[in-house]
Symmetry: C2
Subunit: 350 residues, 2 copies
Amino acid sequence: MYVTDSEQRRNKIFEYIVESYVTTASPVGSEFIAQKLRSSLSPATIRNIMVDLERAGFLHQPHTSAGRVPTERGMRYYVDSVMQARQLLPEQVRDLQARVLPQKAEDVDVFLARAAQILADATQEAAFVVAPTVRSGSVRQIELVPIGARRVLCVLVADDEVFASHVVEIEEPITRDETIALVRFFNTELVGLPFNDLLTSLERRLLAQTDSFYHVVKRSFEILEHALSTEPEERLYIEGTSHVLAQPEFRKQPELAERLLQAIEAEDAWLEQLRADLESGRSLVRIGSESGIPGFEPCSYLTVPLIVGGSVAGGIGILGPVRMDYPRMRSFVEAMALCVREAVGRMETS
Amino acid sequence: MYVTDSEQRRNKIFEYIVESYVTTASPVGSEFIAQKLRSSLSPATIRNIMVDLERAGFLHQPHTSAGRVPTERGMRYYVDSVMQARQLLPEQVRDLQARVLPQKAEDVDVFLARAAQILADATQEAAFVVAPTVRSGSVRQIELVPIGARRVLCVLVADDEVFASHVVEIEEPITRDETIALVRFFNTELVGLPFNDLLTSLERRLLAQTDSFYHVVKRSFEILEHALSTEPEERLYIEGTSHVLAQPEFRKQPELAERLLQAIEAEDAWLEQLRADLESGRSLVRIGSESGIPGFEPCSYLTVPLIVGGSVAGGIGILGPVRMDYPRMRSFVEAMALCVREAVGRMETS
DNA sequence: GTTTAGCACTCTTGCTAGTTGAGTGCTAAT
DNA sequence: ATTAGCACTCAACTAGCAAGAGTGCTAAAC
């Protein structure tokens, strides 16, 4: 792709504008940029270029005598075409690893929640993880542990190291032999099926009626239906929200903070969007209203999917103000994703 | 206890002051109170009484020409001696029950988190639960489910319907016979012991060396140590934080909001205090800095312990600004506690 | 043709002074 | 003991003014 000199220069100036806006949180004037360029261009020239950038929709002037502020569209352009990838320093990476890896990695859920805490602390923004649940994997093993006469603990193990257990109440008491038969059925006939299809596939067998296991299938259906109904599709953990609300944009407009917090608490809308984002299988950035979530307008987020065994199993990300340091955040979240993959990898091979 | 006429009148006026402060969030003047009293007393008299109340430390004047605001100490007095218990309307109780009871009550944790959501929604304040974990109960049953060669799912069931399961990695592969032996050991020798004493008591047996089960005890110790280390003492769920931050006191001073949010996120300090509060076994109110938690100064909370089988197993509460409607909140949280007890009761007897 | 110095112009921000009004405390009368 | 009356205080609002930041435009310089 051919880029003219003047385009290059324009991009450089735009980059400086974004970057000083990111650090100062206030409109950027031409003089300031001229200084950064060590007087290779005069403020007047920069002003001309600023007018161009404003016409292109990348900058916005709060009022006539103010500096310029990047628009949402400008930020998108910055993220896509202007900003330069940044590497973390080796010691930063080591620090992250040192805090993440030594953890007892026995429970994926707990492990990921901690990782989010560490990420939030390192970046001083909010960090989140979408933790996989068994529903996103397929059956590796299902066990039943009787508790009392009419209650059974149903243990679901997915092939991506995720597991869950739920107490199921059953109407007719279950015998020891029946339990054994059910468990055998689970671990011969159901292994490898995606948990999400489990119920429909059992239902099909039930309707067909030709099954020699009819009663076992029926009982299985009852138990698994209960067990899976308590298990959400995904689990969202978010840490460090206070860092975001401490940003000047929220200080000045507390109603924005309130709306954001409500949107985070409501969870549904965001989680749905995140699901779609992660399914793409690629890292991405959603800037301001791009996410389409009411209340998220002053915020952007980055997400990286976690890929386990070839398919997406949750993700990790950072939530901050639109005016956030994208290169820095991207390098952090990517380093963390590597860490997490490594740790999960170790869990698998062990 | 003898209460003079003038004391009674003073209390009435104080009650009105607190209550209008609660609704308006701004200092209360003498004229306003006079109107509420339907001119049975003139503003001047009320002013005299206000001076008394201020001398007693119950009221505070932001500045000479402002009305009066209850102090923290005043609020304490109000809660202890002035406010009148309020009953919820039957339909409010029914509404609460209708939203809490029909839930699948199979998992105590999930159930309590939902209850907190409902409470937050009903009160328009933040609501929290301290959910019990197995550590706070004693052993009813422990099971092992082998997963792969070197991993075992350890299922812990406490006698208060709480259960947990954790994957434990073990160095030496475990045999089928060994598993059976361990489970038998668990469910004959350990039943009834508090989970919290489990490790020390096993250690004692190990040190005594005289145990015929020596190897089983050793293996048990290893496995249970891992399983219990992942299990926290208590789990805290808080919902509806945004309701609190929407209050005018936080709107006007966003830094208070930030500090509060940080304190909630840090969790440790508050949880420790809550543990102490709940241990008393009684409902209580902590007003402002009484809680001793940095960041909680502008807030109060109410807690009610949940008693299961004679001992405290978690609790439920409401967090709001110091200027909150205590009688209303108390009636809500108490109604909810009843609901929850009923639901947990049903889980037990089933 | 691009760049830049110069300058008038605009609009926020901060400051000061004046006004308003809510609410008080005191005093003297009831 | 209560209360009407009144002077007093102080935050909150308003208006006006000055300062300053930053612009856009024009005309000269490169």
